[in-house]
């Protein structure tokens, strides 16, 4: 099955008809670091988006929500280093101005240019730098990786992927780039994700597919996609593959869905793995739950426990922390029935200590990826969440963020 989806390079510019470019325009204190980028399609795209549900959304989020009402977009302009949040009327004007400048640069209607910002909250955007930067950006179809780099903040590395597969016998592509590293608490990190494809799709169906894909990927990592001020996930589909537009009835709809799921899950895991100060990726799989909501609650609760995250950092199979987080999660459980496994090692049997090999458990905990499996033995529902460990690096990174 795997060769149905082949990895290719260039992430967001991998699909036909997408170009990107990035510059260092001086928003970030280090003038050598790229902090402004444009991603554009040669033709208007069917577009879908999911955004933060914060009550203090950033200005660019308000712009995206408005412009996406038409279900179309052709480009997005993104800056890092400044979140354009808590910036009032001026901030909103600046977001619209940023979109307008990029539209002029690209020669397309401003309503087709979305925008995003990420970085420090509460400062106005340096519009002169942005204006000069937009003018200086050169777009090309092999600059997807530059785009992926320019959107980063405290990330230690870019997160990008593109898959190639077939729809109606045509070779098509789906690419994505994302950022986000402030990981420990779900409502703080800014997560930005840009997905592009040359597949033709119907807008309403695309929006629903994006919502579902985000629910199982970005909303299952320890950055709760719906809670930060700037969180944004956009999908632009320019249709240049020329297939019959996909909808629920299309026989190959599931194939696109699978590609989308693979791309979003990959990118979500990469965000978790690159959490601020993180040294380990944690995967929590809950099965046997009474229903899906319970499975999600339980899985997320484990990834969100700083005490368990610390134990993970220390390679300490202190499963009592898992039990406490599970009990506090609010999921339905029978305290005398659930099992817990650290990797393949069963540490809890029917709610109490299982007889296990401590050395084996420590060996599993020492790896850079650790999987926790919880079987609630109450039903058939399951869910997977991803997180990371909590280390001194996180503290260092956030103690003096604005200085």
């Amino acid at each position: 099955m795997t060769e149905q989806f082949r990895e290719v390079d260039l992430c967001v510019t991998a699909p036909r008809g997408f170009r990107a470019g990035a510059v260092a325009c001086g928003i970030k204190s280090d003038a050598a670091i790229k902090d402004l980028a444009i991603l554009a399609s040669d033709v208007p795209c069917v577009a879908a988006g999911t955004f933060t549900t914060s009550r203090t959304p950033a200005a660019p989020v308000l712009l995206c929500r408005e412009y996406l009402r038409g279900g179309k977009a052709q480009a997005v302009v993104v800056n890092s280093g400044n979140a354009n949040c808590a910036t009032g009327e001026q901030g909103l004007r600046n977001a619209y101005r940023m979109s307008e400048l990029a539209a002029a640069r690209l020669g397309i209607p401003k309503e087709l240019v979305l925008c995003s910002s990420t970085g420090i909250i509460g400062r106005q955007l340096p519009m002169e730098k942005i204006e000069r930067g937009i003018t200086a950006i050169e777009l090309s179809s092999d600059s997807g990786n530059d785009f992926a780099e320019a959107i980063l903040t405290t990330d230690t590395r870019p997160k990008r992927i593109a898959l190639e597969f077939e729809i109606e016998g045509r070779t098509v592509r789906l690419g994505g780039a994302t950022k986000g590293a402030g990981m420990i608490y779900p409502n703080m990190a800014t997560m930005l994700c840009y997905l592009t494809t040359d597949v033709a799709v119907e807008q309403a169906w695309l929006q629903e597919e994006l919502r579902a894909a985000v629910a199982n990927s970005f909303n299952m990592i320890s950055v709760d996609g719906d809670m930060s001020t700037n969180d944004t996930c956009l999908l632009l589909a320019n249709g240049l593959a020329g297939n019959t537009p996909l909808n629920e009835a299309h026989p190959e709809a599931g194939h696109f869905r699978e590609a989308l799921h693979r791309v979003t899950t990959y990118l979500a895991r990469e965000i978790a793995r690159d959490g601020e100060g993180a040294t380990k990726l944690m995967t929590v799989h809950v099965r046997g739950a009474r229903d899906q909501a319970d499975a999600i609650k339980a899985a997320r609760a484990i990834t969100l426990s700083p005490l368990w995250q610390c134990a993970l950092a220390g390679g300490d199979p202190n499963w009592g922390r898992i039990v406490a987080a599970l009990g506090a999660s609010g999921c339905t459980l029978d305290p005398d029935r659930f099992d817990i496994f650290i990797g393949p090692v069963q540490v809890v049997q029917q709610g109490g200590a299982a007889p296990y090999d401590e050395a084996a458990a420590r060996s599993v905990m020492a790896a850079s990826e650790v999987t926790i499996t919880i079987d609630l033995h109450l039903g058939e529902a399951e869910a997977t969440a991803w997180g990371c460990d909590l280390t001194h690096g996180y503290i260092d990174e956030n103690t003096l963020y604005t200085r």
Copy 2:
């Protein structure tokens, strides 16, 4: 007004008719540290309790809930170093046995002896050590502070208080001791609190007053009293002051309520101040909220933000972290109306940056107590929450907890 409530020594043994004692029985690895204690009244007490709502409650919590159905108790036996949680049938039998042993030692019915445990989850209690320890405990009316010490785990110091005041012209006392330090996330720490008084009270009224006092104190610190496996708050009222039992209609009911509020708030703040690795106490006061639920949501959200906690540790007035936490809290707000103050320094005005003196803000942030005030300008409701900063000490403490 203050002299109506005078501080006196000996915490839980300050009220007449209460005795306590503690020993080091060897549950903790350091054999010199007290880890087993008994608190007892000379006569049966009207008793009230609030407990964790975790789905994996510890065995002693199950015992307390059962025994408190009668609304009476005379003593409590507590061990630290072992939580007796996730210990199944054997754990439950051990909790009842612990109560029975203490009852035999005191010569009172076992149903009047409550018990608590705190420490590592998932290990059976060492019952032989506990049995020998209970036999060895000597009770006296001046050992309240020994009791306060023996219930500690990762706490750096005891938290205890006693107030003396008048009811019906009689001098009465209310004392309390508490523990809890795993502070950063609300559903993890074990918080134990024992309150004693010689005031006569009606049981139903006492239970309701305790619930209300806990809601405004322990449930407003960054240890969510209703979410850990072992959280317990008990109040024993032996009535030896001889007053007409207090109920809602008693003219001095409010006076007792005020004393109870002062004691629980003091103890809650002390827990927050002594959070694992904490160097600073944070007080968050939210006013102008549409309703009480919103005020609580907003205040707690700020204390629970690890990013803001890190900024607090570094003395960095990075108020964007407060805005993000506020927006994510789910409280109703108008993004163009709220104000934020760090100490007396207004840093946010109508949802955006206020012109403030950076040096003044940094000076406030450098203190060991920092108060954040948020005015939502939407109504009359208010709430106060307490928390602490997040430092390397927290990571160190929890990385290798079971080793």
